[in-house]
Amino acid sequence: MELVKLTIDNRTVEVAKGTTIFHAAKELGITIPTLCYMNLKDLNIEHKPGGCRICVVEVEGRRNLAPACATDVSEGMVVKTHSVRVLNARRTVLELIISDHPFDCLVCAKSGKCDLQDMAVKLGVRDIPFQGEKSTYKPDFSPAIIRDMDKCIMCRRCETMCNDFQTVGVLSGIHRGFESVVAPAFERDLDHSECTYCGQCVAVCPTAALTEVDHTNRLISDLSNPNKTVVVQTAPAVRAALGEEFGMEPGTLVTGKMVAALRQLGFHFVFDTDFAADLTIMEEGTELLDRITRHLNGDKDVKLPILTSCCPGWVNFFEYYYPDMMDIPSTARSPQQMFGAIAKTYFAEKQKIDRKDMVVVSIMPCVAKKYECTREEFATDGSPDVDYSISTRELANLIKSANINFNNLPDEDFDKPLGESTGAAVIFGVTGGVIEAATRTAYEIHTGKSLEKVDFDALRGFDGIRSASVDFNGVEIKIGIAHGLGNARKLLDDIKAGKSEYHAIEIMACPSGCIGGGGQPLHHGDSSILRARGKAIYEEDKGKALRKSHQNPDIIKLYDEFLGKPGSELAHKLLHTHYHSKKDKQVLLD
């Protein structure tokens, strides 16, 4: 490796050739401020467009200041990162950016968590000397994401996530100069684009240009309505990340505190999406087993591989991009929707609550779940099975605004019956978890034997695309796993091209699965945080008395009392769905 020696702020450092000034400075413990730069190391994404110009530094012998994130070091280079010239330029650049930004910080959704606001504080901006026209755009309200481009600072991180990582390609910089903005093709709104609502753009936006649709106020009003019974369900990934919002170490499990907080907030029943995840395994596992058995028996019509269908971002993705493969995904609804369907039928009947008086709210690590609730097929006579979904971040804000001392809450248990779950359900929150849970149940049902080792290490890990084989009593079942839609695309294209063969595939839209979801506390691409969350999920699984979905006593009871058996007519009506091609959606809507 060729090394280059240079001086930064009077200190010498030696770094590999090709290193940027930004990284060389880091070696010396100097963090050069920036607004647009983003490094998602474990996802192999480094976004350094050199666009914001906040990271400018002075390089001896160069006439102009250089953007540190986009300038490579050279031998003998002398760099100053905080000369008067640099500091003045940096502040002027920031003042110019702010001069075209609204001043509504006090009431902004990102206030207190905004990179632009932080930078203004850091650089001591007290006055904007530049007066003039400001960009004004019509806000774009979709069911899951709000685009308010008046607040866009053209860092273009969202574009990198949407194009390079997810390969969805909805967002692009358009027009030029003062008119430039990030938008979908032909400035359509998101709802009329191929947006999957994965929310990875929201997760990296430095300002409030991209935010999730916020249902907090709606929730507060429902909770205070004496005529409503408000039921909550919490997704597995939430408990492994919520603590971070209260200063806890990443990977701290806060299941009990979360339940206590929800009860204090006034929810009438605190239930667990994990219950529905066990139910998903019963339905999806049965479907998986059925398709594989038919395939092994020589049925040529059976469609394999079976693809998981829990992730609404992924469902959107294949509805847009793989309309020819629509008969491959499992027809099982996601756990969120199974929960809603059961809560508003089985549970409502038990409690003698009228459907219209029950509000089902979900707490999700996800932005796309907000959209999933609104899909027409998940409603009865216009009344949705799940009324709305709030993100982990929204829940944290709600707990804070309710003045609940989260860190000191006692651990409490979920209510019954829709709060009972097994370890298999918990691992839905991490990449590989759904297929591992399905394998645990499918193996036992297929072989009639009890699993000696419940942990399938071969299915775990954080590589973007993984494959593994599981021995089903002499029959080799091939399993594929992908997280991130770009990886999903690669995997699907290989299958289409006949390059790889699988019996079953799990796909999650977000990096590392739901623990890295678009609605989670921001991880800023630090994969050690994602790994810690994953570890927490596997810990909770290990600590459960029951670790296979088909052992969940309340699931067994649900089938006995209500559904009959997996795949029954009623189960199909309430727990399964169908998909629509969205390939021509945009054109049709024009």
């Binding site: 692009s172 030029r176 979908p184």
Partner: protein, 163 residues
Amino acid sequence: MTSIKLKLKESDVQKLKEVAKTFNNDPGELINVLHKAQEIFGYLPAEVQEVVAEELNIPVAKVYGVVTFYSFFTMLPRGRFPISICTGTACYVRGAEKILDEFKRILKVPVGETTPDGKFSITCLRCVGACGLAPLVTIGDKTYGRVTTDGVKDILKEYENEE
């Protein structure tokens, strides 16, 4: 940017596919493909951009980004008599802006758009290298030099009986 609705004929789609093919369907040739496409259709409606995106395997948002970035590309059909007013430095100091305003006033369309009858469109261009004739206007292939505000209506009169 407003756009004119257009249903592409199958033969038009084929033409575009061939254009993309002559550039090996290489995404790096996007600008060249768009140039050719605009040569064929006169402008780049959304439907054309969608086919180009599909053929070069790039997101249509990216194609739209390039089309809106370069002023040469247009999503609106040009008039049968496209009027270009030079607003380069020499023409500008000799009153090009007033000339432009006069065209806009008489034809009642803003820059970049076409009259409802499809006859005239107005665009600005930067220096055609005939600064001695400033301010300069071109209509189609015809050039008008030392144009005055009063002269604008006379120029348009020439096209009164043309269709």
